[in-house]
Every structure is written in structure tokens, then in C-alpha cells.
């Protein structure tokens, strides 16, 4: 598993790695030291996921095309 920077991960990537870590830990076939490392990373991933979920907020915007120049567009809040 390539170690991505957690901060750069999207929710799904973080969730997937978290799930893999949990399955590894649950299998009980991980040496103790790795267990601790995995747990730490898992905790960070979980925190990252929670953060992503907590930051869920609605924002509605609209595209408005200016009539003058073609391809000139503005994004306005609704």
C-alpha cells in the first residue's frame, strides 16, 4: 500500500485504507510493533474522515455567462 499523505487523501481513499488496516488488525496476524503503527495510522485516517464529514456544508453557486465576450463566465453565490 503506497503511503499517501493523509492530508492529501480524499474521503474515499482514507476510508478504504482505514478499512484495510482494520481488517489487518482484526486478522491478528500482525506483529505487536506493527499493530501500534497501524493503530496510529488508522486513528489519523479516522480523524481525517471525520474532519471531511464535519466540513460537509451546503454552498450553492451559479454560472453566469457575460453577454459580451464568449467564454467569459462568472461564478456567483446564490
Amino acid at each position: 500500500m503506497g503511503k499517501l499523505e493523509i492530508a492529501d487523501m480524499n474521503f474515499e481513499e482514507a476510508l478504504q485504507e482505514l478499512e484495510i488496516i482494520i481488517e489487518k488488525l482484526e486478522s491478528g496476524e500482525v506483529p505487536l510493533e506493527e499493530t501500534i503503527t497501524l493503530y496510529d495510522r488508522g486513528s489519523e485516517l479516522k480523524k481525517h474522515c471525520e474532519l471531511k464529514l464535519q466540513s460537509a456544508e451546503e454552498k450553492i453557486q451559479r454560472i453566469s455567462l457575460s453577454q459580451k465576450a464568449s467564454g467569459d463566465l462568472k461564478i456567483e453565490d446564490v
Binding site: Y39, K46, C49, L53, I60, Q61, S64
Partner: protein, 451 residues
């Protein structure tokens, strides 16, 4: 002629034709006429002439060669169409006619036939292939919506998104039916794709293209080729949500996912926040549990080991005590031991000395034996010699015994006191006593005087 008639303005034929033309053109600059196609003629000039009719009337219509019409393929006799254009007159034949700028198939039958034709074409091109479908993001950050700003569709989508997972939504407002709607929808889809992913121009990672339910004609823009191709070429995954569940447009085939309704599109677009929260919560528990169990096991083992250690300590203590006692006694034991060893060593040395002595003794004995051997040899030799001598003397005796015989003949032998033979006078003179041997035996004589 009455005055009325006299005062009436007089027109030439061309003049009246011109006035009528102006009236007709000013009165009907843009009309939409539904009718059945009658006789169609396509002369070499490239213009298309046809009659538009219903059960009572006929309207002469022309499509000029220079008019760009997207769908002219269904201009054939018998099909029902809607023609858009302006009315004008043709003075040469005293006719009014429709100059067509656009025509649309009308009536379900015609539309369906055309739809099937296009669908077959796109199918052949592979636009609907499964492997062309892009996977939708699990959780889109920005959702672009292409629909009418005022319709219920956008409200439905926002409402459902708000319930499930509030997101950033950008609407690209477009007309969703009528003339020009296909072009606007196309522009919106390609426009979203052209946006860069930055804070200034946020590029959506998911698009929803849709409108509410309506007639086949109402939904027609979503069957247009340019819209279908724009959807096929979009790098951003697209959910189509056109009409109700039973309405299917070509965009539904080409979209990555087809949603039966706008509300369903929102449901497909985002997972439910509360489910994810409880999933994360569950993951948190599952993350901790094995680690906790592991550590708990280790703790138990440690306790067990600690207990065992205490036992060992107890067992050891007895040994340690014994050891302590031993260590006190050790110098004594050592001394005794050393003493013993010393003695042993001494004895061994003695033994070694003894051995030396024996060796030396043996040597002496050996020499002695050798000497004795020599002596023995000498003795043997001596005995041998003496025996020889004896033998010799015996033989001499024998010989001398033979002289005895002479004694019998009257001779006598003179011997000294040691019975040694006295041979002459000088010998006899030295002795006081002499023995004279006769045949019968000895007589002792005293020496008196020499003569």
C-alpha cells in the same frame, strides 16, 4: 361608379402584391406550424419544396438551400412535423408560403422512429458501451448541475442533497426545452469540463444533467446528437436525470449513470452523511478493539509471568539460603578439601619417589644379578676346574696308588706331619716328625740327627 369607388386608391398588380407581402411578412415574422408533409420536391437547385397540410388546408413551404437545418432527414411525405419560419408571399403565382428555418418531427410515431434511428447510429458507434462509463466519485466535493434554474428539478436535487450530504453545488442554468436548448445544454456540459480545478473556477467532480417530466417533444433536446456527444466526451462523470422513470432519452444511454428522477440523481450522487458517520464510528471501535484485546492479553501474560517470577523467587530463596550457608562454610570446606587433596598429592609424590627408588633398586638388583651371574660363572668354572683337578688328582691318586704296589715290594714312603711327600734329605731334616708309609700302614718317626 359611386364616389366611394371613385375615391378608392388604385393599385397596379405589383403594387398590391407588394402591400400584401409587407402585411404578411410583418404579421407573421415567426410562426410554428404543425402539419403533415404532402408532396416533397428536391430539385437540383438544392432547395426543398413541400406542402404542409391538414384535413382542410395546404400551406406551401420552402427550405432554402442555405438554411442550416439539423434534422432534415425526416422531411418525407406523410410524416407529421412542426415547421418554424416566417410567412411570405410569392407574387408570381399569387401564393403565400412558409419559409422554413427549422423543422421538428411531431407526433409520437415520427419522433419514436427518429429516436430509434439515432439510437441505432450511436449504438453502432459504441457510445453506449459499458466500458465507456466512468465510475462516479464516492463522495464528490463539487456537484455541477445542468438544468433550468427555475424548475422544480434543481430544488428537488438541492433538497435531497441537503438531507443526505450537503455539498457545494454549482448550477449552470439552461433552458431545458424548445429552440436552442440543445445548444445551451451542450455548452454547459463542455463548459464545466473546461473549468480548471482551482478555487477561482471550481471544476465539479460530478455532473447532473436533467429536467422534469414532459412529452416526448418536451424532452427532445436530450435526444439531440450534440448533447449526446457532449455527454459521451465529458471527462467529468455524468448522471442523467431526465423526466420521470418511464421517460427515456438518448442522454440516459450515454450518461455514466441514469437516474430515474432528479431526486434519485441526488441520492446516487452522494452517500448519506449519517451512515458514514456511524460507519466511521463503527470503524473507530473496530480499530480499537483488536489493539485493546492484544494489549489486554499482553497485560494478562505479564501478570502471569510476574506471578511465576514470584514463585521462582520463592523456590530460589530456598536455594539461595542453602547457598548462603554453603558460602559461609565454603572456606572450611575448601580448606578441608585442599588438605585432602594435598595429602593425596603428597601420597602420590611419595608413590612417585617410591617408584624412583624401585627403579633405582631394580637397577642395583640388575647389576647385582649381573655380578652374581659373573660370580656364578666363575664358580661354575672353578667347580669345573676343581672337579677337573679332582679328577686329575684322582687319576694321580690312582697312579700313586699304583706305587703302593711297590710298597708291598718293600719300599717305604716318607711324609711330613701333613702327610706330604718328603722327597729328599733336606726335606726330612726340616721336620721333627715324619711319617713312614709301609705297605701295611704308617709309623711315626722322630728325626734325630743327620748323618
Amino acid at each position: 361608379m359611386t364616389d366611394e369607388l371613385t375615391n378608392l386608391k388604385e393599385f397596379s398588380v405589383s403594387e398590391i402584391s407588394g402591400v400584401v407581402k409587407r402585411h404578411v411578412e410583418d404579421g407573421f415574422p415567426l410562426v410554428k406550424v404543425r402539419g403533415e408533409l404532402g408532396r416533397v420536391s428536391r430539385p437540383a437547385s438544392g432547395h426543398i419544396y413541400f406542402d404542409l397540410k391538414d384535413d382542410r388546408s395546404v400551406l406551401a413551404s420552402i427550405i432554402w438551400r442555405t438554411t442550416k437545418i439539423i434534422q432534415s432527414e425526416f422531411v418525407e411525405e406523410g410524416s407529421e412535423i412542426i415547421a418554424v419560419g416566417k410567412l411570405t408571399t410569392f407574387s408570381g403565382q399569387s401564393r403565400y408560403q412558409l419559409i422554413v428555418s427549422n423543422i421538428f418531427p411531431a407526433g409520437t410515431g415520427a419522433l419514436m422512429a427518429m429516436l430509434d434511428k439515432r439510437k441505432e447510429q450511436f449504438l453502432k458507434e459504441g457510445l453506449f458501451e459499458k466500458d465507456k462509463k466512468k465510475p462516479l466519485p464516492f463522495l464528490p466535493e463539487i456537484i455541477g448541475v445542468v438544468t433550468s434554474e427555475t424548475g422544480a428539478v434543481f430544488k428537488d436535487i438541492l433538497h435531497r442533497l441537503r438531507e443526505r450530504f450537503p455539498r457545494r453545488v454549482i448550477i449552470w442554468p439552461v433552458p431545458v426545452q424548445g429552440e436552442g436548448s440543445a445548444e445551451k445544454i451542450t455548452e454547459a456540459i463542455t463548459g464545466f469540463n473546461l473549468l480548471l480545478k482551482s478555487s477561482k473556477s471550481p471544476r465539479p467532480d460530478l455532473l447532473i444533467v436533467g429536467r422534469g417530466g414532459g412529452s416526448l417533444e418536451d424532452l427532445w433536446c436530450f435526444n439531440e446528437e450534440i448533447v449526446v456527444r457532449a455527454v459521451a466526451q465529458s471527462d467529468i462523470p455524468i448522471i442523467s436525470a431526465v423526466g420521470h422513470e418511464t421517460d427515456t432519452t438518448l442522454i440516459d444511454y450515454v450518461a455514466d449513470v441514469r437516474a430515474p428522477t432528479p431526486t434519485a440523481a441526488a441520492e446516487i450522487a452522494v452517500p448519506e452523511l449519517k451512515n458514514l458517520l456511524s460507519k466511521i464510528d463503527d470503524f473507530g471501535g473496530r480499530l480499537k478493539r483488536p489493539v485493546f484485546l492484544r494489549l489486554e492479553n499482553i497485560r494478562k501474560n505479564m501478570t502471569h509471568i510476574k506471578k511465576s517470577m514470584e514463585n521462582v523467587k520463592y523456590i530460589l530463596s530456598e536455594h539461595i539460603q542453602r547457598f548462603d550457608i554453603l558460602i559461609v562454610r565454603f572456606p572450611n570446606i575448601l580448606r578441608i578439601y585442599l588438605q585432602k587433596k594435598k595429602e593425596q598429592l603428597f601420597q602420590m609424590r611419595v608413590a612417585v619417589l617410591d617408584l624412583d627408588f624401585v627403579k633405582r633398586d631394580l637397577k642395583t638388583k640388575h647389576r647385582l644379578l649381573k655380578d652374581l651371574g659373573k660370580v656364578l660363572n666363575q664358580r661354575i668354572e672353578a667347580v669345573h676346574k676343581s672337579k677337573n683337578n679332582m679328577l686329575f688328582s684322582h687319576s694321580r691318586l690312582h697312579d700313586s696308588l699304583s706305587y703302593k704296589r711297590t710298597l708291598s715290594r718293600g719300599y717305604a714312603i716318607v711324609r711330613d706331619k701333613n702327610m706330604k711327600l718328603v722327597r729328599n734329605k733336606d726335606g726330612a731334616v726340616k721336620e721333627k716328625h715324619l711319617h713312614i708309609e709301609f705297605d701295611e700302614g704308617f709309623i711315626a718317626v722322630e728325626v734325630k740327627e743327620t748323618e
